[in-house]
């Protein structure tokens, strides 16, 4: 053993020089680490946390935006659907109205046409009636004259027999009604159907 001092040394009694060396070494390390290394690490930790939180915030914001967009889209969709339904209802109502209008128009038109037809019918009947009224007397008198063998025309005209007869006929038909008394009731009914029952009495006579 060439280190004689070591043999008797107590390891728990360090020399002062060694202690000073230890103090210096640790002090230097502490200075460098506390001054440069750890603050830098703290900065990095903060930056990292902010980066992560920022990322989370960004994601949250995006999600909120997407949700808002979805809500808006849904609202728009509902609105559009409501509008479409309204348009459909309106169209249906309008169509109904048009149909009503057309129907009313057609009814008026048909009523008008019927009325005109009736008017014309009445007019032509009156005309025929007047014509017949003029001719029937002459015809009857000439026929009677032929039967009797002499001319009754002058007498008849003079005495107004024919007119009286015709007036009687008119009066009779007015009191008894249209078809009840006459044998040609069916013919009369089919020919006219309503009103003017007296109009066809001359046909009876004929």
């Amino acid at each position: 053993m060439n280190i004689l001092a070591a043999e008797s040394a107590n390891p728990l009694l360090p020399p002062i020089g060694e202690i000073i060396v230890g103090v210096i070494a640790f002090a230097i390390l502490y200075f460098v680490l506390a001054k440069f290394v750890f603050p830098q690490m703290e900065k990095t930790f903060v930056a990292r946390r902010e980066a992560i939180e920022g990322g989370i915030e960004r994601a949250d914001a995006m999600q909120a935006e997407a949700k808002a967009a979805l809500a808006q889209y849904r609202a728009q969709l509902a609105e559009a659907q409501a509008e479409a339904a309204k348009i459909r209802d309106d169209a249906r109502a309008e169509g109904q109205q048009i149909i009503e209008e057309l129907r009313a128009q057609a009814q008026t038109e048909s009523a008008r046409i019927i009325a005109r037809g009736e008017e014309q019918l009445t007019a032509s009947r009156q005309q025929v009636l007047n014509e017949l009224r003029g001719q029937i007397g002459t015809l009857a008198v000439s026929l009677a004259g032929k039967v009797v063998g002499e001319s009754l025309a002058d007498d008849a005209r003079r005495s107004g027999t024919v007119d009286r007869f015709l007036d009687d006929l008119d009066g009779m038909s007015a009191t008894t009604g249209t078809s009840a008394t006459t044998g040609t009731a069916a013919t009369t009914g089919s020919a006219d159907g309503r009103g003017g029952s007296s109009a066809y009495v001359p046909q009876d006579a004929r």
Binding site: N2, G17, I19, V32, L33, V37, T44
Partner: protein, 276 residues
């Protein structure tokens, strides 16, 4: 020449001296290598041995490593940055914040420096060609323990006031008056003497014993190989044990650095918060 190598020479020399000495176990001389530089300053003797230089190398290495790690910090860390930040995070969050509490974060740099300093110096016990930890020299753990002792007493006085701090230390609240005869001396001794002493001795003794174990098994393997009879059969066992103990030493290296830091934080916690 290192003291281990010296011991190796002695082991090898034992062969020549014909068995009268046998296996020469490593002695405490392991920790007293020859002085490489020695000078005297202000009446204090400085002896720089290889252990002193290992201390410098370890300290410089960990400093360089950490400075490099934070030189170009990124949000997404590189490997070195991640490693350094993980180490600091353990101390900052796991020890300073969780052990001391909300007031603990200001102590994180001190605790972090302690942790990295002890870790780096402890690691020297298994780094090839160094293979001895400066922490197996009592002076260095003692320095750290004294720093811790000064710090927690200073913080205790600052936070609680000198009167209350010393009163709480001497007379713990909730202790029956009769028991104070026993409790007070024990408490005072514990807070002001035993705490720093155990803190320093725990670290020192672990590294001291670890180094001794490694040297014994390594030298044993060499001795068994060259002693000449069937003993050579047992040499591999000794070698394997040396390797196993190296891994064990790795565990001790990290564990002791952690334990020292945690205990420091516990003492600081007692100083920051009044006793319950």
């Amino acid at each position: 020449m290192t003291s281990s190598a010296l011991a190796l020479v002695n082991v090898l020399a034992a062969e020549g001296s014909e068995g009268d000495s046998g296996f020469q176990a490593p002695t405490i001389a392991e920790f007293y290598p020859e002085s490489l530089v020695s000078f005297s300053l202000f009446g204090i003797d400085f002896e720089f041995t290889r252990i002193t230089f290992i201390l410098f190398i370890a300290t410089a290495a960990i400093m360089l490593l950490l400075v490099l790690a934070v030189r170009r910090p990124g949000i997404v860390p590189g490997k070195l940055q991640w490693l350094a930040e993980s180490g600091y995070s353990v101390v900052r969050d796991g020890i300073a914040r969780d052990v001391i509490g909300p007031k603990g974060l200001p102590f994180a740099p001190f605790l972090g420096s302690l942790f990295f300093f002890i870790l780096a110096n402890n690691a020297m016990s298994i780094v090839p060609f160094f293979q001895i930890s400066p922490m197996s020299k009592f002076a260095f753990p003692l320095v750290l323990a004294v720093f811790v002792w000064v710090l927690y007493n200073y913080i205790g006085i600052r936070e609680q006031g000198a009167a209350k701090y010393f009163k709480d230390a001497a007379i713990p609240p909730g202790v029956p008056k009769a028991a104070l005869i026993l409790v007070t001396p024990i408490e005072l001794l514990q807070v002001f003497v035993i705490r720093p002493f155990t803190l320093a001795v725990r670290l020192f003794a672990n590294m001291f014993a670890g180094h001794m174990l490694l040297v014994v098994f390594s030298l044993g393997a060499v001795y068994l190989l060259q002693v000449g009879n069937l003993s050579a059969i047992f040499a591999p066992f000794s070698l394997i044990m040396a390797i196993v103990m190296t891994f064990f030493e790795l565990l001790v290296i990290v564990l002791q650095a952690y334990v020292f830091t945690v205990l420091t934080a516990t003492y600081l916690n007692g100083a920051v918060e009044p006793a319950h």
